[in-house]
């Protein structure tokens, strides 16, 4: 099985995020954004790549939106209402609440101010939102029988989420935009340690490493304070949602602490409306706000009041938040015109401005004069401060997240190509995780490990906990597992002894040793055994026709098959010539020989438990006895020796001790070094015998 990842937007660029992932036969669209930089068809993702016929309902399982920014949700009404997708759409509660405000605001700006052709109407937005199924954090939603999705807190903006999706054994996370450090009003991204095949992460700041946020805050406050202390006016052009609240909390706090009385104004109704939502959605804000809001809701700004146009030229210092953020028009431009000429005033600019806006012009060098159009010129004498607040995580944050989740594969989206390349390099070299950064409309195929679900019997599960200690007690050699097919009572069963790696298995066999209980110190080799990573449990995989495969414990198998126990046993009876056999007394001869052999074996074989009986020796399943039966069925080379100086050793052993047996047999053969018999060296096939 593989995960197929088609990047429809935000591949090697920032804007119109849209990734379609096929996973286990399910197709999920993550985000459905629009590109703010284009006005032509490039504005929307190329939906035709999903389905040429336009039958999106059957080709897509669901759409998941991570947060309300237009580059993540902007194309959604178009996709649902114009292109005709009617399947389920998921987003978090705050996103569902705030997205229509954003969309409507955008639509108004586009249609009413610029006079563009309407892409979708107000009704479209409302209709689209009606189809949305809200998600809560860490709530597992079963989209259909196989597909599960779950949202995790992402920081970034109110309601932003990372989405975890799982089909069968294949799992992935799509991060959307996220922030790994908390800010004044939102917490840091938070996710469980999941086992992932694929992580699709944003990479806006793929190479930037940011300083401590306190330094940034300090700089900002210092600039603002200096300006208002000198009687100047501060213009903070900002986006209505997100940054505005963060800066406002910061300023409000500072005002409180420094006991300042300079008014702080909010220009637009949108911001005030947004503040209302923030106040309601306290559960999605940072820990600090959650802790304190019963005493004081930080979105009830003490020093903030709403702005009226007449105040623009009022004397005295003030701070004003005005939309839009990049001074591309609207109210912020109007105020800018009035305030820019005075050197006492201060304009703060957001971290990122689109080329062509006044914000961008101010950022690149310090112009003294800005030509708005042929007739309007603005003299810019005011101070300019560039904000470096950003709701995106920096390179270190991205690395930290990848390190924490440690997925099998990483795909980068939402970033600039050269930076993505260098981050990809870092991820591959430092973490050793394969990483890709496909361009728009490219598809990446991710192989996933295939998991087959098998049932397990209770007895097997118990045996996972409870290692049968006697069976593995200090073996000289642990047999390798082998596969064989056997036909039993008409049913074809592929009975393979398999090794199952299990994490629940208590690796205790060494504690069973007698010497351990007496608390002797542990030798080196035992320690390495203790520290061994893998614990083995033996079971048998049974596959019957039209039934799920099942793992059973060894004892159960026979019972299941209704068969009797069969043991494969090897036996061999062979002569060994002993030169000094005549010295022994006849009746004690056999016994003494065995004693001799025992001594020899114990010095050669690394086995602690050789049991010596009067007529045989026992090493695990290997049993060596002296055979006097002339008609022993396992006897070989019968006629070659005269009986006086030759004794026959009859050995039997079971299959799993084969290695041990061959070693021991060799020792037995060489019991008397004076024997020179080339025939003995000859390899002989062991007799197979069913008991």
């Amino acid at each position: 099985m593989a995960i197929e990842c088609l990047v429809l937007g935000a591949g090697q660029e920032v804007g119109k995020s849209c990734v379609v992932v096929s996973i286990g036969g399910k197709k999920i669209m993550f985000d459905c954004g629009m590109h703010m930089g284009y006005l032509d068809s490039r504005r929307y993702p190329d939906f035709s790549l999903i389905s040429e016929t336009g039958d999106f309902d059957s080709s897509l399982t669901c759409v998941v939106i991570t947060h309300f920014h237009l580059d993540h949700v902007g194309a959604l009404p178009y996709f649902t209402e114009v292109c005709g997708y009617h399947g389920p759409i998921y987003m978090t509660y705050p996103t569902k609440a705030l997205a229509p405000i954003m969309l409507e605001d955008y639509r108004k700006v586009m249609v009413e101010r610029r006079g563009e052709e309407e892409q979708f109407s107000y009704d479209h937005i409302m209709e689209c939102m009606r189809k949305v199924i809200p998600l809560d954090l860490k709530q597992t939603v079963q989209v259909d029988k196989d597909l599960q999705i779950r949202a995790y807190y992402a920081g970034h903006v109110l309601g932003a989420a990372m989405i975890y999706a799982k089909v069968g054994g294949s799992t992935m996370v799509y991060t959307g935009d996220y922030n790994m450090t908390p800010d004044r009003h939102l917490g840091a991204a938070q996710i469980d340690r999941l086992r992932l095949d694929l992580l699709i992460t944003e990479s806006t700041y793929a190479t930037t490493i940011r300083d401590s946020k306190y330094a940034r805050e300090r700089e900002f406050l210092k600039a603002v304070h200096k300006c208002v202390a000198g009687g100047g006016k501060v213009l903070i052009p900002t986006f209505a949602l997100g940054r505005a609240q963060e800066l406002c909390i910061l300023l409000d706090d500072y005002w409180e602490r420094m006991n300042l009385n300079v008014p702080i104004y909010f220009s637009a109704g949108l911001t005030i409306q947004a503040n209302m939502y923030y106040k309601m959605l306290i559960g999605w804000t940072s820990q600090k706000i959650k802790d304190n809001y019963t005493k004081h809701n930080p979105f009830d700004f003490k020093h903030v009041c709403s702005f009226e146009r007449s105040l623009i030229n009022a004397p005295g210092p003030c701070v004003l938040f005005a939309t839009p953020g990049m001074i591309s028009g609207g109210f912020s431009l109007e105020v800018f015109k009035h305030w820019a000429p005075s050197e006492k005033n201060l304009i703060t600019l957001p971290g990122y401005c689109v080329a062509g806006t006044i914000g961008h012009k101010l950022m690149s060098g310090k112009p003294t004069r800005i030509d708005l159009d042929a007739d309007t010129h603005i003299d810019v004498r005011c101070q300019i401060h560039q904000l470096s607040f950003s709701p995106h995580t920096d390179a270190k944050g991205i690395m930290d997240l990848i390190d924490f989740l440690f997925p099998q594969h990483v795909i980068l989206v939402h970033g600039e190509k050269p930076k993505m390349a260098s981050l990809t390099e870092r991820i591959q070299s430092e973490l050793g995780i394969p990483c890709y950064y496909p361009a728009n409309n490219e598809t990446v195929l991710i192989p996933t490990s295939q998991n087959v679900k098998v049932d397990a019997t209770g007895q097997f599960m118990r045996s996972c906990h409870n290692v049968n200690l006697n069976s593995i007690q200090d073996k000289p050699c642990i047999s390798n597992f082998s596969t064989n097919n056997c036909e039993v009572s008409g049913t074809k069963i592929d009975a393979s002894k398999m090794v199952i790696t299990s994490c629940c298995n208590a690796n205790l066999h060494s504690t069973q040793d007698k010497h351990c209980i007496s608390n002797a110190s542990i030798s080196n080799c035992e320690v390495s055994e203790l520290a061994g990573d893998e614990n083995l449990t033996e079971g048998i995989l049974v596959m019957e026709k039209s039934k799920t495969a099942k793992v059973v414990s060894k004892d159960e198998l026979l019972q299941m098959l209704g068969a009797e126990k069969h043991v494969v046993q090897f036996a061999r009876c062979f002569p060994v010539r002993l030169s000094n056999r005549e010295q022994f007394l006849p009746h004690a001869a056999n016994h003494t020989t065995l004693q001799l052999l025992c001594k020899k074996l114990s010095s050669h074989v690394k086995c602690k438990y050789i049991e010596s009986f009067s007529d045989h020796l026992q090493l695990d399943s290997l049993r060596i006895r002296i055979c006097s039966n002339e008609d022993c069925p396992f006897r070989t080379n019968q006629n070659k020796y005269c009986s006086s100086s030759v004794i026959y050793f009859c050995c039997s052993w079971s299959m799993h001790d084969e290695n041990l047996a061959s070693k021991c047999l060799e020792i037995v053969n060489n019991l008397d070094s004076t024997i020179q018999d080339s025939n003995l060296a000859q390899e002989e096939a062991p007799n197979e015998h069913l008991q």
Binding site: R193, S212, A215, D403, N466, A506, T511, C516, I522, V527
Partner: protein
Amino acid sequence: MERLLLERFHLHLSPTSSSSSSSPLRLTRSLAIARALMANRDSSDTTRRSTADALVRALADHGSDASFLRGALYFLGEAAALHPSLAPAVLSAVRSFLDGPDRLAADALAALAAIARSSSMGFSFVASVLDGDLVLSLVRSSSVAVRSRILDLLVSSIYKSRGSVILGHNCLFRVFLALTVDLYPSLRIAAINGLIALCKEIGADADSLIVRCCYNRAVELLKDEDELVRSAAVRLVSSCRELFRVGAKGTDSSEQTELIFVQLCSMARDMSKQVRIEAFDALGNVKEVSESALLQSLSKKVLGNRSGSKIVSKCEKETKLSFSRAAGTFIHGIEDEHHEVRAITCKSLGMLAIFSVRFADEALSLLMDMLNDDAEVVRLQTLETIFLMATYDHLKVQEKHMHMFLGLLADISALVRTAARKSLRLMKLPNLEIFKLVIDGLITNLETNPEEEEDIFYVLFFVGKNHRKFSAKLAKDLAKEIKPSSGEMTLDNPRISAMLVVSISSSFPDKKYTCDIPAVIFSYAATLLGRISCALQDVIHRDALLAYLCRYSGMPFLDKTSDSKEAGEICSPPNQNEASDCCKVTVSDSHEPQHSKEKEEHLSEELMQSVEVILKTVGQTWPLVKACRAYEVQRIFRTCKEELEMLAQSASGPASAFLDFALQYVQVIQLVAEFWEQIQAKSSHSFGMVALEILVEKIDMSLKRLTYCFRGLHSEIEFHILELSLFATILRLSKFGIFSDSVLKKLQKIISRLEFLSSEGSIMLSDFSKEVSKAVSERRMNSASQQINHCNLLDLFDLRQITFYGGFKSIKGELRALDNNSENPLLYISGLPVGIRYHITLCNVSNNDRLWLRMVVGESIEYVFLDLGQFGGNDDERSCTIVLPFYATPNASSFVLRACLCIECPSENMIYWKENQGGPKGEIALLFEECDVYFANIGKR
């Protein structure tokens, strides 16, 4: 009742009984009865034993009934925990179930755990029934309950079992290691905790291979899916590191330390708050890590000097960690969303700053941001860290930091302000501007919080003294400013007074700079002597300070003696002292400025002296008493009492207990003296017999109060009081001449206690006591009515001089009837009980004391037992308001009830006990004077 229950219990249990109710129900009932029998305090030991034995037998009889077995096992465990004498029998019964089915084995283990927890002996009992093989088989059990319970037992065995070991340490290590990979997270956590405990227990003796095993396992578990397992694993890594360090014994373990440091750093980026807290905590404890690693943890950018990708590797497990993993750990820590993490980060920063000056320098700029934190805990922790850095002389403040820091002097929290000043005291200020900033900050602080003047002066003085040049400069400026010619200067101005303190500090105690400072400063400062000396009392004595100020101001100073004392009086600056115990500095007790506590102790020393003088006077009056100079004696006693009362008015806490005792003591002596005088007087007509009896009772009461209402009396004092009681008893005998058995018993008791005390300590029995003892034993031998020669005995008595060692507590009570006075009586109907609301306050009463409320109306006395459980508060002081009934309301139009609090004297029981009359079994001592409650009959009003 008990017997009845026991019989029924046996009936229920006996398998042959043919009761109508079904068998399982009967068994359950029998358990309930057993529980009642066992829990009742008054059940006899034999009953308990027979109950337990019967249950043990029943375990075998009803082996098939699993639900009964489980309940019974559980119950037996509890019972054995409650009554350790049952433990051996229960243990042997429970033991057999350990091999049984999982469920029962789990219950049996629960019973064992209950016994092990119960007492110090409990564990060795349990250890005696568990052997290694059994434990191992339990550990391998397939039931989670069994595994987790045996694991808990093993973990607790590490702490508890001294000598009685179930498994050897090496074997325990293996068991724990094996269980760290259990399927269940809770078991994994418990196993890790076991390993940690074991590491701590073994310490330096640990086998290095085992430690390595633990460490490797811990590193694997750092990647566990469960956050609690991860945080436990962090702790394990930390304790392994400690063992590595100890085990290395001088050999170079820096590579290892750095590896662990980097590992912990990467855990500090975990998503779980708990793990981060553990990780930062562990980071703070890492010692001897290289400076470059430390610096890397402060910078998010990978530092070049380690060539960026330096790999710390360890051959054994092929652990490869890039050095860059440590990058910016602490930055992330202080930016954390949770204030717990931020606080612990600050703490760790401080602990690591000890090792490197450069690290301290860079950490300081991070810490300065934390001074702005909105959580008070974090601000306090930051200040503590800065203080720690200052004591190790690793604090280099810059001007940009100072604004942040001085901002804290205006903090809303007094704790933070105090902590900030504490750090200021040790700071080294690089230049005059900063110095002035600091002084200004402190002055602003003084202006806004005048109540903190004492501490601010103290800090100003040290800041000035540590920067003599600057403060000398400041003094000169000040001198110009306060020229009398300006006319408007007021010394009351906080700014001026603060500047004066700084100015005089510059030449203190060195004489080098003196010449620079205008004398006028000192003469002004002298007018503030009271306030300054109050602030500096643990640096310099007031007289010495005055001498110092006068000398430099050129004023003639009268007392030459203190001038010579001055040099000796001036203590060394407290820096050194504080540097040595700086690690113990906790924020919480900086709340109260240190010296105020010292003041209290100082006061009590003064007080001790005056009390000693008074007691000496009292002791010296005895010859006068013997000489029957009543008038003089009474006058002396009266003045002594008055003086003590005066002292008691201003005392509090232990001092007041001390004075209380002294007062009582003088009272007793006075009474004894009075009595003595009466019986010595040749004609007894001046006093009637009744008056004498009252006097005797008074003496008795006072002595009882001395004996029973003070805790922690020194044995010498106890001895003295006993002798006094002996004397009082003999006095009484001599007057009334009734020599009953009870008196004899009492005498014997006192004497034996005296003898015991003298045999224990170095106090010698006085001649008086010896004679009395002889007389009493003679009297006992020949029980004939041989009289004791009182007069001789009494003559032998001599009042010893006693010295008090404070430190005892006085048991006190206060009783008030609420809403009641003579104008406003309680209404009652005669013959019916009436409820009275009392407010009772008790000091230093322990849970073992038996307290009674005695209510007396005419002849009828009613005792009410006070259940201490009803009281709120702690042992030191508890109080409650309760309504108590008074039953025997008389048939009268109004009456007055006298209520008082009594404590039962524990050792003098058997005397007054009458049947059918409730009340205390032994003698009582009054805790508070009687209070009157007024009643009016509702019908006759």
